[in-house]
Structures are given as structure tokens and as C-alpha cells.
């Protein structure tokens, strides 16, 4: 990752604007439309690559090449698969791409150190939810692509909206790390407070710019990766959030019962109401 330029402007405005524009154009070109040609799709892919690279350029290096490579790989898988999910015409292919995206996301979560969630994502999403989707697809659309899969609703406006939103979010994220604390905030920055409280114990070694306005971690000196993360998460869940967990269990039961109830009532009226919608 190229290091960020100056501290006054978190991200070069041109880079951001260019990335937004490229991504918007790429999305528009890629989304299924009646005017699609092979060339337009290729152009869309190219522009998409350009845009995503531009967005990626607003990120930061993690310090060492190995970490950068790993993160880039899993993040790349997640993002590209996500893009493919929404632009593929065939819904089954879309589901497969989604599975890939889940793999990427799981990788990101693992890199972040959330081991349980990384695995849970695969198990629950890819293993259960995605399979359900595929079942429904097979039931409802066995022939694959339908006419309505080949057109989109308002591709231009939606692409623009999405790209602009991404630009805004990127701007906020960029401002997060490089900017001073906002003027309305009278409280001392956490970094200052922690630094004052914890004395000279520094944060992790991989801080780049050493700005005093960084948000310091709560507990200093903790390792980046937690070997007992799952256990700690479990303790947290069943400790502080026990009630919520139980409620979540009830929620699952309710969903189960509700689904069956709707289906059985639906079957009763299906014979009367088998008709086209208005």
C-alpha cells in the first residue's frame, strides 16, 4: 500500500473523486441491462478494477509485506466476489460468488483476530443460509436465467448512489485516522488520557504516523492476537449477555414456528389464489 500523503488532507480529493467515478461507471456497465455487450462488460471490469484499486490506495500499509499480502488477498477475494455477486446474471452463479465472498470475509475476520466469528461465518452463512437459498432457487427457477434477471431497476442512479456513499464512507474513514479530534469535542483524546494514565507504556509497534490524536487502545500492552479468544468470547456472551443469548434462542424458535405457520396457511389458500398478481 502506498503510504498516505500529507496529514492536512487525509485523502487526496482527486483520488477519491476518481475512484468514485470509476466505480460508478463500472457498476453501471456491469449491471445487467438490455444494452450490454461483451465489450461493455469488459470495460466495466476494467473500470471496476481501477476504482477498487483507487479505493484501496486510500488504505494504509500494515507494516510488513507479509501482513499486507495476506490482508490484500483475503480482502480482495471478499470485494471482488461481492462485486461479482451483484452483477452476475444467473442467480445460481450469484449464490456461488456469494460463497466466495463469505470465504473472503471469513479470512478478514480471522486476520482481525476474531477466530470464532471467522469460522461461524462459514458454518452458519455458507453452510446453512446459502444452502437454503440454493434450495429455493432450484425449486423456483430450475431453468436458470429468467428474463427479469437480465434487466436491472435504475442501474445508473443506484450505481451513482452506491459509489457516492462509498466515497463518503471512505472520506470519513480516512479522516478518522489522520484528522485532529473534532473541535466540538472538549474531552481529551483517549490517547492523551491513556497516555496520561498508563504512563510511558506505548501502544503496538505498528503505528505509523505516531500522531498524538490516535485513539489509543483501552488496555495497553495486550497482544494483537488473542490465543483464548474463543473462550473469552464465550465468557463474555454467557456472562454479560446471557439474557440476550437466551432471547436469541427463543427468536430462533419463533422463526421456526412462524415459518411453518405461514407455509401451512399459504398452502390452504394457494388453491384459491393461484393467480397472477395485479
Amino acid at each position: 500500500m502506498d503510504p498516505v500523503a500529507a496529514t492536512t488532507l487525509p485523502i487526496p480529493g482527486l483520488l477519491l473523486a476518481g475512484s468514485v467515478a470509476a466505480l460508478a461507471a463500472s457498476l453501471w456497465l456491469l449491471l445487467p441491462k438490455t444494452s450490454d455487450t461483451a465489450n461493455s462488460r469488459r470495460l466495466g471490469l476494467f473500470l471496476g478494477a481501477v476504482g477498487l484499486v483507487g479505493f484501496a490506495a486510500t488504505g494504509r500499509s500494515l507494516g510488513c509485506v507479509g501482513e499486507d499480502a495476506v490482508f490484500l488477498t483475503v480482502a480482495g477475494i471478499a470485494v471482488i466476489s461481492g462485486l461479482a455477486t451483484i452483477v452476475t446474471r444467473s442467480p445460481v452463479y450469484s449464490a456461488i460468488w456469494f460463497a466466495m465472498a463469505l470465504a473472503g470475509v471469513s479470512g478478514v475476520l480471522l486476520v482481525l483476530g476474531a477466530q470464532f466469528l471467522g469460522v461461524a461465518t462459514i458454518v452458519v452463512y455458507a453452510g446453512a443460509i446459502l444452502v437454503m437459498f440454493l434450495f429455493v432457487l432450484m425449486l423456483a427457477q430450475p431453468s436458470g436465467m429468467a428474463p427479469y434477471d437480465r434487466v436491472s431497476n435504475e442501474p445508473m442512479l443506484a450505481a451513482a448512489a452506491g459509489a457516492v456513499l462509498l466515497g463518503l464512507l471512505t472520506l470519513s474513514i480516512g479522516r478518522l485516522s489522520a484528522a485532529e479530534p473534532p473541535s466540538c469535542c472538549r474531552m481529551p483524546s483517549r490517547a492523551q488520557a491513556m497516555a496520561a494514565a498508563a504512563g510511558p507504556t506505548a501502544g503496538t509497534a505498528s503505528e505509523d504516523d505516531g500522531s498524538a490524536t490516535l485513539i489509543a487502545p483501552v488496555t495497553a500492552g495486550v497482544e494483537s492476537v488473542d490465543a483464548d479468544e474463543v473462550a473469552h468470547l464465550g465468557a463474555e456472551l454467557f456472562g454479560r449477555h446471557l439474557f440476550a443469548v437466551e432471547v436469541a434462542g427463543v427468536l430462533l424458535l419463533v422463526a421456526l414456528v412462524g415459518s411453518i405457520a405461514v407455509v401451512s396457511r399459504g398452502e390452504a389458500t394457494e388453491t384459491d389464489h393461484r393467480r397472477e398478481s395485479r
Binding site: 431497476n153 435504475e154 442512479l157 443506484a158 448512489a161 457516492v164 456513499l165 463518503l168 472520506l171
Partner: protein, 765 residues
């Protein structure tokens, strides 16, 4: 005397109040009373008639024998002020000097303190008392007659309410002691006339006639309004009577006794003449004189009792009342007075000519009314005491016999099932003897057959004309001297005054002092005085012409009246088929008023003339006590030469009518065929209506169409367009709701993004 004056003071406001209460009761209870809906109105008018009689007798006792040669009574005037209606402080007009309390304000000064105040004040003097008696008396008889005539009409209660309101308005008009109040009730009687002419409003001709009457009257009312403005500006007050303000300032009324006695009390010249001519315009409108006479014949579309009351006896006399009341104002402008006579005589002659060829009985009577009103105007315009009293005398007798004739015509119409064309019925004296006899009496009175009432009053009118035409023949050194205008500068100053509008007392007094010497000089050379402009009309040769015109009119009157009588009541009996089983004499409720009126027509003339009661009574009116008028008073005398001329004219008229129509079938060829093209001219009413239509009505209709188009297309169009704007917006915005959920979600996202972008822009560092 004091207590009787106090009693009279109480009775005066009571008189108009009673028919008003009757009207209100009729309006509120009319539907519920059904066939008895006439009771409140008739009771109100009847009570008012009783009060009028009491007022007449009370005022008569107040009038003394008088002094001087000929004996002239002192003026009698009782004022009853009910309340102050409108008061506007600080209504100065121009730069005014302060006046001392108690000192009369010279003419031409606005009231010091500049307060505009209109009191609701009613007056009682001989002129008012006479007219009140006529109005309520004839009104009562017409109301009783209407009980029978309007018997089957669905608008029965409405008719009586309108008649009662009319009696109230007319009483207030003659009793008001303030020019603004007169104007108010002038309009009110016009409105009543409109409502009564258009009584059967579903009939298009009636609606049109009502509209025409109202609009033509409006022209006259405009004149009266401007006259009132000029009066306020000139005299600083609108009251007839003298008043004293709260701060002690004495304000001379325009027709108050102080101002009348003052030689320099009235303004002459351009302003004075303008006021008089505008009042003449108003009188022409109300009394149907040329050129504003066109509404009266069309007004016959209304019910006959309404025609009898309003368009014969009372409302049309409002103009004569106004001029008589304003006599002191007119005496300062001899030109205006002559115009009054000229208008009257011309109208009388033209209307008589038109009446000779009318086949509708009511139209004959309508034109006859116009003609007789012209007679009254002729007498008024002479400006002598004889002239004024002759006019009022003729007004009274005319009210009786014209109401009689109209009610008789109504009786005929009622019996003939609504047919009033004389060529379709005949010989009705066998069918309706009482109606025939009373109608004959009325016709004799109208034609001026002695000893009926009309003979005497017409004789007085002709006598006054003759006196003006031959000034040296009737001992009128008084006449001519008295006709000199007062010293407020008419003659040479008349020209100079036309442009001058300032009314400063200083300049007025200086002018009056310089002219006082001048006019005393002119008094000696009465015969050689130069008169300029309008005043030049006041020449004996003019009066001679007017006399002969009036004599000719008398003959024509006799002719057309008896033509109508012969066509209707003589000859073989013919009944139109619309009559059905109605062709019989009217019920007593209708014939009794006819009999009363016939008695009055027959006897009132003799009684009032030979006792000279009316003239003596009227001479106590303050307005007629102007020095100029008093100077023309002569002793009461019977003029045999004029009487013979008048009777001869009447006899010739009756004879010609008899030759043409007595005993013949009513639809036999008429004498008009000998007139040739003149007959067509008369029958088309001298083409007044088509000329007015082309000159006035059509341009106004075009203007109305333009404004109507403007109103519909532009004003309404703009409002509608403004109304269409939300509709257009709505239909544009409505298309957003397409039912597609993804589009809704997109709209939401775009909206949120817009807000966030705006916020981010606001909060940028």
C-alpha cells in the same frame, strides 16, 4: 297650542313607523296568515292615514289667518329630531373663519368646527301634511282594492309587504328634513317601484321593465347626488331647518326660516343654476318627464294597484315635491325655473300625442300620467305663488282621479281575464255599471269638465301660465319685481360667477354690497334689464308659447280620455274569450274604493277651490315664504276667460272622440288612419326607445360583454390556473408512487445521501 304642538311632535315619527311595522309583520307572518296576509299592512296604512288626518287637522289649526295684502299666513314648521345618524368631526372644506356663537353664518361658508352631521329629523309643515294625507289616503284605498284584485296571486303577502314599505318610504321622503335623508328615501321608493313593477318576476317583460325603470331612475338619482354634494359645499349643511350645535353655534338650514328671510341667503350664478338643473334632472327621472320618461309606460307590466299607487298618485309626485320644497333655491335662478316649465310643457304635449294612438287602456293612462305631471312642472316653473299652489292642487286632484282611473282599469282587466287591449272588448257599461260610472267621473275630472276636480286645478295651472305670459294684465308689478333675483349677483355677475368657486364670506359680502346698488338701479328699469344665458328664456313670449302648448294638451287630454271611455264602455257588448266567467262587476272590496275616489274627484275641486283652503294652507309652508315668491302672491280669483278657453278645448276634444268612437264597435277602424305618417310617429312613441337603445343600451351591452369576457377568461382563468397548479404538481409527484419497492428504496437512499452530503459540506473543516 303648546300641547297640541307637542302632540304633533309625537305623532310625526309615528306616521311612517306604522306602515313599517305592518310591513315587518307581513314579512314575518305572511305565509302563516294565508288569505288574511293583508291585515297587518292594511292596518298599518290605515292607522297611518288616521295619523295623517290628525296631523293635517293639527297643522291647519296652527295656520293663522295671516296678514298683509293679500293675506299671507305666518310659516308653520314643526321639527322632530329622532337621533343623530352620522357625525364626522373636522370635515372642513377649505379655509374658514371662526364664527361667533349666535351669529348667522353667511351663505357660502362651511360650518365652523367643520362637523358633518346628519340628524334623523322629520318635519311637519303644510306641504308635508298635505302630501302625507294624499299618500296614506290613496295608499289605504289602493290596499283595500288589492285585497280583491290580488286575491288569487301566490305572491299575496309579498305584495302587501311591498305596498306597506312603499308607504313608509314615501312618507319619510316627504317628511324628511335633511337632503341626505331625502336622497335615501328617494332611492328607497325607486327600489320599491322596481320590486313592484317586477312583481311577477318570472315574466321576462316584467323583469325587463323593472330593470329599465330602475336604471332610468338611476340617471336622475345621479343628478340628485351631485346636487346634494354641491349643496353641502355651498351651504355647509344639508338640513332644511335651522339647528344649533352642541357648542352653541347656530347653523342656518338650507330651507330654514332664517335663510329664507335673508335677501342674500342663496347662491345664484353658475353654482346655483347647476344645483337647480341637477334637481330638475332628478325630478325628471322620478316624475317621468322627458327625456327620462321611457320607464313609465313599460311599468304597466306591474300589478294595476301598484300602478295606481306608485305610478299615478304618489311616487311620481316626488319630483314635484322636491322642486316645491326647494322653491327658494330655484327663485334665485330664473333660467332654471323656465327650463322646468319648458320641460313640463314639452313632455305634456308629446305624451298627449302618443296617448291618442294607444290601444292598451293602461298605456293610455300611463301617458296621461306623464302628461299631467308635465302640467304640474309647467305650473312650478312659473315661480309664482299661484304656480306653486296650482301645482300642488293639481297633484292632489290628479292623485284622486288618476288612482280612480287606474283602479277602474284594473277592475276591467280583472273582469276581462287579463285582457286590456281596448279593441278586444266593448260596451262594458252593461256588464260593469259601477266601474263604468266611476270611470266616467274620473275621465271627466281628467279632461277638465266642470265642475269636477280636474277642471279647477287645470284652470289654476293655465292661469299661472297666463299671468307669466301677460305680466301687465294681472296687476303684477309685484310679479315682475318679485321675479328679480336677489342681490347675490345673477345678471352680469352670472357670467363672472361661472368660473368662481370660492365662497369666502368677505368676498360675498363685498359683491353683494356692490351689486345691491346695481340691482336697485335695475329694479327701476325692470323692462329693460338684459338677461344672459339660460335666464334669457324667461321672456313673456316663451310663456305665451307654453300657454298655447298647454291649452292644446288640454284638448288632446280630453280626446284620448274619452276615446278610451267610448271604446271600453260604449258600443255593442263584446267580451273576449279569456274572460270566461269573470265578466261581471267586481266585488265590493274593489268597487268601494272606486266610489270613494269618485266622490273625491267630483267634490274636492269645488271644495278646495272656492274655500281657497289649500292655497291658504300651503302659503304657510316655509319654502313658499321666500320673499321672491311672496312678492308674486295675488288675491284669489276665478279667471273666467281662462276657464272658458280650457273648457272649450275640452269640449272640442270630447266631441272629436265622440264622432270617432261613441257607440261604435271598439275594433272598428280608428281615426288615426287620418294622421298618416304622424300616426306612426306617435304610435312608435317618437322613437325614444330605439334611439336610447342605439345610443346607450347597445354600447353598454357591448361594454358589459367585454367585461364579462374579462371576468370569465382572465380573472376566472387566473384563479382556475392557480387552482390547477397543485393539481399539476400532484400529478407529477404522484408518478413516483409506482408500486415498485426497489424504486422506493432507491429514493430513500438518494434522499439520505443528499442529507449526508449537505451535512458533510456544512461540517467540512
Amino acid at each position: 297650542m303648546q300641547s297640541s304642538a307637542a302632540n304633533l311632535l309625537v305623532l310625526v315619527p309615528l306616521l311612517p313607523l306604522l306602515p313599517l311595522l305592518g310591513a315587518v309583520c307581513t314579512v314575518l307572518l305572511g305565509r302563516r296568515l294565508g288569505p288574511r296576509a293583508h291585515i297587518p299592512a292594511v292596518a298599518g296604512i290605515g292607522a297611518a292615514a288616521v295619523v295623517a288626518l290628525l296631523l293635517l287637522l293639527g297643522t291647519a289649526t296652527q295656520v293663522g289667518a295671516g296678514h298683509g295684502d293679500p293675506p299671507r299666513p305666518e310659516p308653520v314648521e314643526i321639527i322632530s329630531t329622532l337621533w343623530q345618524w352620522a357625525t364626522v368631526g373636522d370635515a372642513r372644506s377649505g379655509d374658514l373663519p371662526a364664527t361667533e356663537a349666535g351669529v348667522p353664518i353667511a351663505p357660502g361658508t362651511a360650518v365652523s368646527g367643520g362637523t358633518f352631521s346628519i340628524p334623523i329629523a322629520l318635519r311637519l309643515d303644510p306641504l308635508t301634511a298635505t302630501l302625507l294625507m294624499v299618500i296614506t289616503g290613496v295608499g289605504l284605498l289602493v290596499a283595500i282594492y288589492s285585497i280583491g284584485y290580488m286575491h288569487d296571486d301566490p305572491g299575496y303577502p309579498r305584495f302587501f309587504a311591498l305596498v306597506a314599505i312603499f308607504v313608509f318610504s314615501m312618507s319619510m321622503l316627504v317628511a324628511a328634513s335633511n337632503f341626505l335623508l331625502v336622497y335615501v328615501f328617494w332611492e328607497a321608493v325607486g327600489a320599491c317601484s322596481y320590486l313592484l313593477i317586477g312583481f311577477w318576476y318570472t315574466k321576462p317583460e316584467a323583469a325587463r321593465a323593472a330593470k329599465k325603470a330602475f336604471l332610468v331612475n338611476r340617471v336622475g338619482d345621479f343628478g340628485l347626488a351631485i346636487a346634494v354634494f354641491l349643496l353641502w359645499m355651498t351651504y355647509g349643511t344639508l338640513n332644511f331647518h335651522d339647528t344649533r350645535l352642541a357648542d352653541g353655534t347656530f347653523v342656518e338650514g338650507i330651507l330654514g326660516q332664517t335663510r329664507i328671510a335673508d335677501e342674500a341667503g342663496y347662491v345664484g350664478g353658475a353654482v346655483g343654476t347647476a344645483i337647480c338643473l341637477l334637481m330638475l334632472l332628478a325630478a325628471c327621472g322620478k316624475s317621468a318627464q322627458m327625456p327620462l320618461h321611457v320607464w313609465l309606460p313599460d311599468a304597466m307590466e306591474g300589478p294595476t294597484p301598484a300602478s295606481a299607487l306608485i305610478h299615478a298618485a304618489t311616487m311620481v309626485t316626488a319630483g314635484i315635491y322636491l322642486i316645491t320644497r326647494s322653491a327658494p333655491l330655484f327663485m334665485g335662478c330664473p333660467g332654471a325655473l323656465t327650463m322646468v316649465s319648458i320641460v313640463g310643457a314639452t313632455t305634456a304635449l308629446v305624451a298627449a300625442l302618443i296617448a291618442t294612438v294607444q290601444n292598451d287602456l293602461k298605456r293610455v293612462l300611463a301617458y296621461s300620467t306623464i302628461s299631467q305631471l308635465g302640467y304640474m312642472f309647467v305650473a312650478l316653473g312659473t315661480g309664482t305663488m299661484l304656480g306653486f299652489t296650482a301645482a300642488i292642487f293639481h297633484l292632489v286632484t290628479h292623485a284622486f282621479f288618476k288612482a280612480l282611473l287606474f283602479l277602474g282599469a284594473g277592475s276591467v282587466m280583472h273582469a276581462m281575464g287579463g285582457v286590456i287591449d281596448m279593441r278586444r272588448f266593448g260596451g262594458l257599461r252593461h256588464v260593469m255599471p259601477i266601474t263604468a260610472a266611476t270611470f266616467l267621473i274620473g275621465a271627466c275630472a281628467l279632461a277638465g269638465v266642470p265642475p269636477f276636480a280636474g277642471f279647477f286645478s287645470k284652470d289654476e295651472v293655465l292661469a299661472s301660465l297666463h299671468a307669466k305670459a301677460h305680466p301687465d294684465a294681472h296687476g303684477s308689478d309685484h310679479g315682475e319685481a318679485g321675479r328679480q333675483p336677489p342681490e347675490t349677483g345673477i345678471d352680469a355677475g352670472g357670467v363672472a360667477d361661472r368660473g368662481v368657486r370660492s365662497f369666502r364670506p368677505a368676498s360675498m359680502t363685498s359683491r353683494s354690497s356692490t351689486l345691491a346698488s346695481r340691482s336697485t338701479g335695475t329694479t327701476d328699469h325692470a323692462a329693460t334689464t338684459e338677461k344672459i344665458g339660460l335666464d334669457a328664456l324667461d321672456h313673456p313670449s316663451t310663456w305665451r308659447l307654453l300657454f298655447w302648448m298647454s291649452l292644446l294638451t288640454a284638448g288632446l287630454t280630453a280626446f284620448y280620455t274619452f276615446r278610451a271611455v267610448f271604446m271600453t264602455f260604449t258600443g255593442p257588448v263584446r267580451i273576449p274569450k279569456e274572460a270566461g266567467h269573470h265578466a261581471h262587476e267586481s266585488p265590493p272590496v274593489m268597487t268601494n274604493p272606486l266610489l270613494v275616489l269618485a266622490a273625491l274627484s267630483a267634490l274636492s275641486g269645488v271644495v278646495l277651490f272656492f274655500t281657497d283652503a289649500l292655497a291658504h294652507f300651503l302659503a304657510a309652508t316655509p319654502s313658499l315664504n321666500a320673499p321672491a315668491v311672496l312678492a308674486t302672491a295675488v288675491a284669489h280669483a276665478f279667471h273666467p276667460d281662462i276657464a272658458i278657453q280650457g273648457t272649450l278645448a275640452a269640449a272640442i276634444g270630447i266631441a272629436v272622440a265622440a264622432i270617432g268612437h261613441l257607440g261604435r264597435r271598439s275594433d272598428s277602424p280608428q281615426m288615426e288612419r287620418y294622421l298618416g305618417p304622424l300616426g306612426a310617429l306617435f304610435a312608435n312613441k317618437f322613437y325614444f326607445d330605439p334611439i336610447y337603445a342605439a345610443l346607450i343600451v347597445k354600447p353598454l351591452e357591448a361594454l358589459a360583454m367585454v367585461t364579462a369576457f374579462f371576468d370569465r377568461a382572465i380573472v376566472d382563468g387566473t384563479v382556475d390556473a392557480i387552482g390547477q397548479v397543485p393539481l399539476a404538481w400532484g400529478s407529477a409527484i404522484r408518478r413516483m408512487q409506482s408500486g415498485l419497492v426497489q424504486r422506493y428504496a432507491l429514493a430513500g437512499v438518494v434522499g439520505v445521501l443528499a442529507i449526508v452530503l449537505a451535512l458533510a459540506w456544512q461540517l467540512r473543516p
